[in-house]
């Protein structure tokens, strides 16, 4: 990256379950049952917040974790969870940790296909307001077996998935914009709590869903929660942060270059196994793999492969320094949260901060502040300013 005003380098951390490795639960400090408890969730989220990560992510799927990603099928956005049968709603987990954390971004995965966009938009707006502007959303669009039957809608497949996800993201933005920031006026003189001219009908009629609007929730703190995802799952123009996954930084760099100009920020996904508790990273990984083999990183650079770093904390610092030259950030996936998260907090983030490569968010920062992204303008407000009397109907014209 060679721009003069270089965007900040961000570091996120995945906190779903007990870690990204399919055998993580065996090395966790708590049992599977306790891994579902609010105490565990609060503990790891507070630890990540204190460590100074830019954001946390929480993987999720509309079906059980084991069916969502049994053994990391090619192209899955999710970590493999063989044998894992329970997982709480990621949006609600993010909401739960909102009052317990101060500066970290809260970025749940949420399915964009088997969902009512009207509900999803309200949920994300509510998360953004409850967290004072720290919400993001990883758009999930995959062919999950059983997801359609769970809601009795027509199943979507193939190209329909990204199309559907793109519509859901676009309509969510319209719902967030359906309230102008200044809609609540509380005018004692006119008796108006809101100015109805500052609320707008969405009037979206699509093939698979429709929304008349306005939304039920005022425009969120950040205007729109930050939209994350993969450019092969949702149209790049809907994304503000694109995740790229590849085994090697040079392939990551190529992908990032392809996305330049299409998506404001590119963030690489990287699994992390560190030397810890007197055990070498490679030995830890071998032990975990002996329990349940993880997918092997694909060194040919196939779409499915995530990068994985296995080594010392100091080595990870060097590795991330390389990444800082080619992407705007990383999303770290600790192999075992209870083991790798404290190491990253202790020996990796402080060193990156010391070198001036990374700045942790402070209380009061929104996620957009942390990412250096502008607050989006309001589509309806802009249209009204241009042509005050128009009430545009949107007949599936948003793509």
């Amino acid at each position: 990256m060679s721009e003069s005003t270089r965007p900040p380098f961000v570091i996120g951390v995945e906190l779903d379950g007990t870690g990204a490795h399919p055998a993580a639960w065996r090395d966790a400090a708590i049992s599977p049952r306790e891994s579902l408890s609010p105490r565990y969730l609060a503990r790891v989220a507070a630890e990540a917040d204190r460590a100074g990560f830019s954001f946390l992510t929480l993987e999720d799927a509309p079906v059980t974790p084991e069916t969502a990603a049994p053994d990391a099928p090619a192209g899955s956005q999710l970590s493999p969870r063989p044998g894992v049968t329970a997982r709480l709603d990621a949006l609600q987990r993010a909401a739960y940790v909102a009052p317990l954390t101060g500066s970290i971004g809260l970025v749940p995965f949420a399915d964009a296909v088997y969902v009512e966009p009207f509900h999803l938009a309200a949920q994300l707006a509510s998360l953004d307001i409850a967290s004072a502007g720290r919400a993001g959303w990883v758009v999930l669009a995959e062919e999950f077996p059983g997801a359609a039957e769970a809601v009795s809608w027509l199943p979507a497949a193939g190209d329909d998935l990204p199309r559907e996800a793109t519509d859901t993201a676009a309509v969510s933005r319209l719902i967030w914009d359906s309230w102008q920031d200044d809609a609540v006026i509380r005018s004692v003189e006119t008796g108006h709590y809101i100015d109805p001219e500052r609320l707008h009908y969405v009037r979206y009629r699509g093939e698979r869903f429709s929304v008349t609007g306005p939304g039920i929730t005022p425009r969120p703190t950040q205007g729109h929660p930050v939209v994350f995802g993969r450019a092969d799952r949702v149209a790049a123009r809907q994304l503000e942060v694109a995740f790229v996954s590849a085994a090697h930084p040079t392939i990551v760099a190529e992908r990032a270059l392809e996305l330049t100009g299409q998506v404001p920020r590119v963030v690489a996904e990287l699994e992390v196994v560190l030397d810890a508790r007197g055990e070498r990273a490679a030995a830890r990984l071998a032990r975990l793999d002996a329990h349940t083999p993880a997918h092997t990183p694909d060194h040919t650079g196939g779409v499915s492969a995530r990068g994985r770093f296995v080594g010392t904390a100091a080595g990870l610092v060097e590795h991330l320094t390389e990444y800082a030259d080619v992407v705007h950030g990383v999303r770290l996936l600790p192999a075992v949260t209870d083991v790798d998260l404290p190491e990253i907090a202790r020996a990796v983030l402080p060193e990156l901060r010391r070198r001036g490569l990374f700045r942790s968010p402070v209380a009061g920062d929104t996620l957009r502040d942390t990412l250096g992204l502008d607050r989006p303008s309001n589509t309806f407000e802009a249209a009204r300013a241009a042509e005050p009397a128009s009430h545009p109907e949107r007949e599936a014209a948003i793509r």
Binding site: A28, Q92, A150, R186
Partner: protein, 466 residues
């Protein structure tokens, strides 16, 4: 639908303890113009801090439950978005999850309709809330069926009004089947266990009615209270029977003593007819409390509350629903409009639940009333809408509640605070000590879960049903 077959004693000592006790819940945000937003003390209706302050005050006062209502389309009045009342609310599942993190004992009640939420989503999100709150979640079941709300959802207005409760029952049974399908102790209690969860942990739940079908595997284990407590809000005979068959608590509008007495008799009859002990279904009418040290001060305060609620514009809008047209040219402080209505039915404000008397009859009776008492438009509307609520001194209202408790006609009240976020301060600081002195209010939270605190028996699905 499979029903577990564990037997349970009919008379439950724990449950019996709640008799003669009054519980309090808080309903946020109030409906229509109940919330005063134009006073110096009126805080934000949107910011999380308002919710935190309100729920933490309620918990300090040992309230049983914090309710969030639901409205999935913004109300309209005469063809435009209704602008005079508080509008804009959070998603209940999200907001209550956040509030779970800053509270310890109070129940968290999400109002969710059975028409525009999928059963699997309801089971998952309410189940998640129950685990995040360690057994404090509840579902207030409502049955919105109108096509106008449906315009925000992919199915549109697919449900006939007559079928709202048959579909609701299907949805509730499906949700319960999903909750029952995943035992609380199935996930392993040690990292050294043979597998993450017991083999065959959650069975697929397969159900269908004429509107929808579900084939799903649950991914939330049961909670410390087994599953969320079920509230129901709906007042028709079908709604009452639905509650008698399915609910733990009914949220009603019948708060005046005589109405509450009749309602209790009716509900107990229906509950027994449904094969349950008469006290199995708790009754919580919605209610407003306007309190002060003395009766006279409380009356002054009530006058202020009514005048703040019924603004000149609100008074006109109230009449416009019946006249069916704008009355903007009339003076709210003057006499009633001397023109006829254009509406056959009083249904011009959508989303309020007003149904209708014929407009002409209504207008005639209001005109007679305002002439008899010399009331202006605004005074008439205040007169018509101020019958509700307890207004009085702390000790006077406590005596009034003692009467309800002794007669056993309600199990609690759902308070609609007229001010946010300070609207519970009077109750918690002034009324509750008086109630406790009279022995009709809890002095601590009982147990750790909402089910325990309300003295409820085990969930219906886990009891033996004939």
């Amino acid at each position: 639908m499979s029903i577990a077959t564990s037997t349970h004693p009919t008379v439950d000592a724990e449950a019996a303890q709640t008799r003669g006790q009054i519980h309090l819940g808080v309903f946020f945000q109030g409906v229509n113009f109940s919330t005063v937003w134009n006073a110096a003390e009126s805080g934000s209706q949107t910011e999380f801090e308002s919710f935190r302050r309100l729920i933490q005050t309620a918990e300090r006062g040992l309230f049983s439950a914090f309710f969030l209502g639901e409205g999935l389309r913004l109300r309209e009045h005469l063809g435009a978005i209704h602008a005079l009342d508080v509008v804009g609310r959070p998603d209940a599942g999200i907001q209550l999850a956040a509030l779970a993190a800053v509270t310890h004992r109070i129940g968290l009640v999400a109002t969710q309709n059975t028409t525009f939420h999928e059963p699997t989503a309801l089971a998952h999100r309410l189940g998640t809330l129950d685990l995040l709150s360690e057994g404090r979640a509840a579902w207030n079941i409502v049955t919105t069926d109108n096509a106008w709300t449906g315009e925000n959802f992919r199915r549109g207005g697919y449900l006939d009004h007559a079928d709202r409760y048959t579909h609701a029952e299907y949805v509730v049974n499906t949700v319960k089947a999903l909750w029952d399908s995943y035992p609380a102790d199935a996930p392993a209690d040690s990292p050294d266990a043979a597998a993450w969860s017991a083999p065959g942990t959650a069975e697929s739940v397969v159900t269908a009615d004429r509107y929808t079908s579900v084939a799903a595997v649950s991914r939330v284990p049961r909670s410390a209270q087994e599953h969320p407590v079920l509230f129901q809000a709906g007042d028709s005979p079908e709604g009452r029977d639905f509650a008698a068959r399915n609910a733990d608590v009914i949220f009603s509008t019948h708060s005046a003593f005589e109405a509450a007495t009749d309602f209790a008799a009716d509900i107990r009859h229906r509950t027994e007819a449904a094969g349950r002990p008469a006290d199995d279904l708790k009754i919580f009418p919605g209610q407003e409390f306007i309190l002060a040290d003395t009766e006279a001060e409380a009356r002054d305060k009530a006058r202020w509350v009514r005048e703040s609620q019924v603004t000149p514009q609100t008074a006109l809008a109230f009449l416009e629903q019946t006249w069916g047209r704008s009355l903007g040219e009339f003076d709210p402080e003057g006499p009633l409009p001397d023109i006829p209505s254009v509406a056959e039915q009083t249904s011009e404000t959508r989303g309020t639940g007003f149904h209708g008397h014929r407009a002409a009859e209504q207008i005639a009776s209001w005109r007679a009333l305002s002439e008899e008492k010399g009331l202006s438009i605004r005074q008439l509307v205040i007169h018509l809408t101020s019958g509700r609520g307890f207004v009085g001194s702390y000790s006077g209202v406590a005596d009034e509640l003692l009467r309800y408790a002794e007669a056993g006609v309600v199990d609690g009240f759902n308070v609609t605070p007229y001010l946010v976020p300070s609207g519970l301060d009077d109750i918690v600081n002034g009324l509750i000590p008086e109630l406790q002195e009279r022995g009709i209010y809890p002095t601590e939270y009982r147990g750790e879960t909402l089910r325990e605190h309300l003295g409820l028996r085990r969930p219906l699905t886990r009891r033996h049903l004939a």
